[in-house]
């Protein structure tokens, strides 16, 4: 049988997922007809505890199903082959939103619910700007906030948003209780997170949006609604008196195995006036710090270039919003 020695591929094969740039995985995708999922057991618990019990019992044999916008195609194409699906869509307590300064979003809240909530968009402007870039309307109707974060596709919007917001992921398991993991530690690799097989992502905690802070989010995709070739988000806070930058954050999608914060570039703006020249310098540094790879859609050089272009665009957007 085919094998690929690459560590990332091994990890992916364990998870039953392919990496498009890997030859062995590409070949797997073409090996036989694939339209119907392989056999699996199915549970639809109605409480968190019931779900945790199932995950505890079945471990990495089980896979959590939320909105299904990534998992169902992977199943149908036989690129993922879990023995058991734990469908969490019926667990009412996972579908709640709490707004009280900070924002707490239950894992199964649909992306469209955030998109359509003026209150949430005001409470967290970055979320409001990023969510419309997720796929198409019908995808956002089904797709969940927690599902996208837990799937950890480096081209997806929400993992990058969580990094930018310095959000916390609340994980719970039957044996270990609850723990929170900061976004910076949550995304470990391509489709890989800090969550253990027995753990369920139950909630996302977003810090309060501070006054004088603006957000920007933009993508370059081949077509409307596609995963972006590169996406970028920025959060900038300005001192209302001096107009100088007090906080600056920048992150990218699609340039590595995880979403990426451009920490060196971010710092360049802090304490300075966000002039066009300063932002251009920041973009040059951000671009130089990336090592993206090429694929059928764009070369590595293109991705690096676009990261710079998008940096200028989203930082300007964030600065304008902060003013």
């Amino acid at each position: 049988m085919l094998s690929c020695a690459d560590d990332n591929c091994k990890r992916l094969r364990r998870r039953g997922v392919r990496e498009l740039s890997c030859r062995a995985q590409l070949r797997r995708a073409c090996k036989a007809a694939a339209m119907k999922p392989p056999p699996f057991a199915y549970d639809a618990p109605e409480t968190i505890d019931e779900a945790l019990g199932l995950l505890d019992e079945h471990g990495d044999e089980a896979k959590v199903l939320a909105g299904g916008q990534s998992l169902i195609p992977l199943l149908s194409m036989r690129l993922a082959r879990p023995a058991r699906l734990v469908d969490i869509a019926r667990i009412a307590e996972l579908g709640q939103i709490f707004l009280n300064g900070s924002t707490r979003i239950g894992a199964t809240v649909r992306q469209c619910a955030v998109e359509r909530s003026a209150e949430l968009r005001t409470a967290n402007p970055l979320l409001g700007k990023a969510i419309p870039f997720i796929g198409h309307g019908p995808i956002r109707n089904r797709g969940t906030i927690g599902g996208s974060v837990a799937h950890a596709d480096p081209a997806a919007e929400l993992p990058a948003v969580m990094l930018l917001l310095e959000a916390e992921m609340v994980l719970r398991s039957a044996s270990g209780g609850e723990r929170t993991v900061p976004a910076a530690e949550f995304f470990e690799g391509f489709l890989t997170t800090a969550a253990q097989p027995q753990e369920l992502l139950v909630e996302l905690r977003l810090p309060a949006w501070l006054p004088g802070t603006g957000a920007g989010f933009q993508e370059i995709a081949r077509r409307h609604g596609d995963f972006a070739i590169v996406g970028a988000g920025a959060v900038v806070q300005l001192d209302p008196g001096t107009g100088l930058v007090t906080d600056s954050r920048l992150a990218f999608t699609g340039v590595a195995g995880t979403p990426v914060r451009a920490t060196e570039a971010e710092r360049m703006l802090v304490g300075h006036e966000p002039t066009i020249a300063a932002i251009a310098e920041m973009a040059a540094v951000a671009r130089a710090g990336l090592e993206p790879s090429g694929d059928v859609h764009a070369s590595a050089a293109y991705r690096r270039h676009i990261a710079g272009v998008l940096t200028e665009r989203v930082v300007k957007e964030a600065v304008d919003a902060a003013r």
């Binding site: 090996k31 059928v296 293109y302």
Partner: protein, 794 residues
């Protein structure tokens, strides 16, 4: 009474299709159905050492598993045919000794459900020894490279060359020459319904029924009957609704034939195979991968003196079963490349080579490379001489009084209106207004400083191309491409209730023939459209034709045959009614379904009464006349037969990201008279959408060694409504060929013209960067490479 022809009648097909009542392959589940799935090669090129199907056979729910060797007794090797000199390797529909493309089928599982069949496919163990693969024309032609067919001495499957006039003298006399290689990339047809079949063998009457998704019925009968060693008359081919094809379904593939062999082996049990999307994208058939090296001789006034064209087509691993498309595309490009331009002296060499890729199939306007290369060349001449590209086209077009004349390769050009189309396009598309806007944006860009706020000036481009297409072409077109078709036959019966059944050999797969042919028949007979049913796509009832639907022929030939047969029915009605009402047949008219004597409204008879009399009461018919009203008509198309278009494409390029946006697209078209404007416009728009997709989005990408990289719709991008602008369509006002059947095809032109127009527009937009567009595929990264913004990475 209402006349249907020429009006936007809503489609007869749509209520059933849009409400889920269509009859596609996967809608049908006859009792006892077995479901097929294929085990496929993950390698582009490999020896097969062993295939172990033990575990798959033992899997619960599996009915049978076949390897190529096991299928051998049930189905003969595939025989391809072509012109003299074509290499026709023999091969089996499941690979045995060797696999030659990613996705090459090596085993076939039949099970109680598709899911079980797929489970069992995973249990088949195949031992491969990987060989060096061929993913490019250069590797195919390398003298010491790998060979795809062990029994052939090269990878070249066909070669032909021809010279017209005296190109050497033309080059010697010309003021300027250019030499450039143009590369068109591989794309795929992407029909909404993938390929599929339900095959049933009835041993009791030694009869085979093939329900499939094809563009015709009769050719398939012969391919299947030859493969199964059955008399052709024991094979029925019955198509239902066919969900698109764009050329892909013009022949039967390996998989359908393998399923036929399995159905024969499992006698009595219907076997269904429906292709999944990854299979369709990888091996359903791909097209268009051609490279043309062009030497061009031209004068200081921009007129082409001569061309030397050398084309190589990357034909994939296997020739398709029933038509030598890889040779035919070269022939068509050779014959058609001058278009309506005055190009008398040229040479054309065509080679088709084997590569480790999916079979090369027909795709909407299979010869489109000729228009793309020629229009690229005209743009290049304009740039070299500093002339307006449209002016260069006007200088090269044949004079309005030159027609009729002959293309150098033979077909007669008549009824050419391209000059009128250019004049109209100049008005309706407002090229001058756009050029002024473009100049002002360029000026703003030139003075803008980096880092300065505000709009730096938009990067705009315009491409204008003109071309003609045989749709269906003049009577001497067939002989000049070695592909002469007999007249198109239609038959009809006035049923006992007075409605008309029309039988056509067309096999529509989205063209709306149930609508357009009913419009014509209703008008000719004098009934409403609801009194006409168009019957097609069933080899048991269709008039004989090896062609089915294809080649932009039906607007002329199917229409002519249906008008003729409806007229013959009307003549019989007139004869009978004249006898019964004691009038002269020439005085009988049929209006709104009632036959009546002109000028005597009281002397009338509904068609139902005429039909009932004809079928049930022959004693009232003219003496000696047989009962019933049935007719047959054979139609031969007349002169002309060229559809002609000028496409104007307006684009904006984002110079920072390389993203190309098509702002506006204007077509000026002469397809003669229009049967149904909505259907004509839909055909044109669909073709243009595919042409835009071809340049900006679509690519059946392979590595140099044949590894396939575009097996899902995340990798192979087709344009959506968000990427395609609204397309404005205008018709040329003056039709210069006037004959009774003056409808011409529009199925292919959109896809022929659009790649040329989009490339032309992008090159125009990038002219400040002095970029030359010689590769048709222009994703954003390629655009930035052309501008020198990023380094070239392949």
């Amino acid at each position: 009474m209402q006349r249907f022809t020429g009006t936007r009648v809503t489609r007869v097909e749509d209520p059933r299709i849009l409400t889920g009542g269509g009859n596609y392959i996967d809608d049908r589940n006859p009792p006892g159905l077995g479901h097929a799935a294929f085990v496929r090669s993950p390698f582009a090129h490999a020896r097969v050492h062993s295939i172990d199907t033990t575990a798959a056979r033992a899997h619960p729910g599996v009915i049978a598993v076949f390897t190529g060797a096991e299928l051998g007794p049930h189905i003969a090797p595939i025989v391809t045919q072509g012109p003299p000199g074509m290499s026709c390797p023999r091969f089996t529909c499941l690979a045995t000794d060797k696999v030659r493309m990613v996705g090459d089928p090596v085993a076939l599982v039949i099970a109680e459900s598709r899911a079980v069949a797929e489970d069992a496919c995973e249990l088949v163990e195949v031992e491969y020894e990987e060989l060096a693969g061929i993913g490019s024309i250069e590797r195919a032609l390398a003298p010491d490279g790998p060979r795809i067919w062990d029994d052939l001495d090269s990878n070249v499957l066909y070669e032909e060359a021809a010279t017209y006039g005296d190109p050497d003298a033309a080059f010697a006399a010309a003021a300027h020459t250019i030499n450039e290689t143009f590369v068109q990339h591989r794309i795929t047809n992407c029909p909404m319904e993938t390929r599929g079949v339900i095959a049933t063998y009835e041993p009791g009457r030694n009869h085979f029924t093939y329900m499939g998704t094809l563009q015709g019925t009769q050719m398939a009968r012969f391919v299947i009957s030859t493969a199964l060693s059955l008399p052709a008359t024991n094979v029925d081919v019955v198509l239902g609704d066919v969900g698109g094809s764009f050329g892909q379904k013009s022949s039967i593939g390996h998989e359908e034939l393998a399923v036929c062999g399995a159905a024969k082996a499992l006698a009595g049990r219907p076997i269904k195979w429906i292709e999944d999307r990854t299979e369709n994208l990888s091996v359903g058939g791909q097209a268009r991968e051609e490279t043309v090296t062009a030497q061009v001789a031209f004068d200081a006034d921009g007129r082409i003196r001569g061309l030397r064209l050398d084309m190589v087509l990357a034909g994939g691993a296997y020739p398709i079963a029933s038509a030598p498309i890889t040779t035919l595309v070269g022939t068509l490009a050779r014959v058609l490349v001058p278009g309506a331009y005055d190009i008398a002296d040229y040479s054309f060499r065509h080679r088709a080579v084997f590569t480790n890729k999916a079979p090369y199939v027909a795709y909407r306007g299979p010869w489109a490379i000729e228009t793309w290369v020629r229009e690229r060349v005209l743009d290049r001449i304009a740039r070299e001489l500093g002339l307006d590209p449209v002016e260069v086209r006007r200088r090269n077009l044949l004079a309005a009084d030159a027609f009729p004349c002959k293309l150098p390769a033979g077909p007669t050009l008549a009824g050419i209106t391209l000059r009128a189309a250019l004049d109209k396009a100049e008005r309706v598309a407002d090229w001058a207004g756009f050029r002024a806007e473009q100049a002002s944006e360029r000026a703003r860009r030139a003075v803008a400083q980096p880092g300065q706020p505000g709009q730096p000036g938009r990067v705009l481009g315009l491409g204008v191309v003109s071309f003609i297409e045989p749709a269906p072409g003049p009577p001497d077109y067939g002989p000049s491409i070695g592909f002469t078709l007999p007249p198109e036959r239609a038959t009809a019966r006035l049923e006992v209730d007075g409605t008309l059944s029309v039988y056509t050999s067309q096999a529509p797969h989205g063209q709306g023939h149930e609508t357009t042919l009913a419009q014509l028949a209703a008008d000719e007979l004098g009934v409403s459209m609801s009194a006409v049913r168009v019957i097609h796509s069933d080899s048991r009832t269709a008039p004989f034709s090896m062609m089915g639907t294809g080649g932009s022929r039906s607007a002329t030939v199917a229409s002519g045959s249906v008008i003729g047969v409806a007229r013959a029915v009307r003549d019989q009605v007139a004869e009978i009614v004249a006898h019964m009402l004691e009038a002269n047949p020439t005085d009988i008219e049929v209006v709104d379904g009632v036959a009546r004597v002109k000028g005597s409204p009281d002397k009338a008879m509904p068609l139902a009464q005429v039909a009932m009399t004809a079928w049930l009461a022959p004693q009232y018919l003219p003496p000696g006349r047989n009962p019933g009203i049935e007719a047959t008509f054979d139609f031969r198309a007349g002169d002309g037969g060229w559809t002609q278009s000028v496409h104007s494409c307006f684009v904006e390029v984002d110079p920072e990201t390389g993203v190309v946006k098509v702002l506006r697209y204007v077509v000026v078209e002469d397809c003669g008279d229009v049967i149904n404007p909505a259907i004509v416009e839909g055909q044109i728009r669909g073709g243009i959408a595919q042409g835009i997709g071809e340049v900006l989005y679509e690519h059946s990408a392979y590595d140099d060694d044949g590894t396939f990289k575009a097996g899902t719709f995340m990798d192979y991008l087709i344009p959506s409504s968000m990427e395609i602008p609204s397309i404005e369509i205008h018709h040329v006002d003056a039709t210069v060929v006037t004959q009774e059947v003056n409808f011409r095809g529009v199925g292919e032109g959109g896809a022929i013209g659009a790649p040329a127009a989009v490339c032309s527009a992008v090159e125009d937009a990038l002219s400040p960067w002095n970029a030359k567009v010689v590769e048709q595929y222009l994703p954003p990264s390629r655009v930035l490479e052309l501008m020198g913004v990023i380094p070239v990475e392949r």
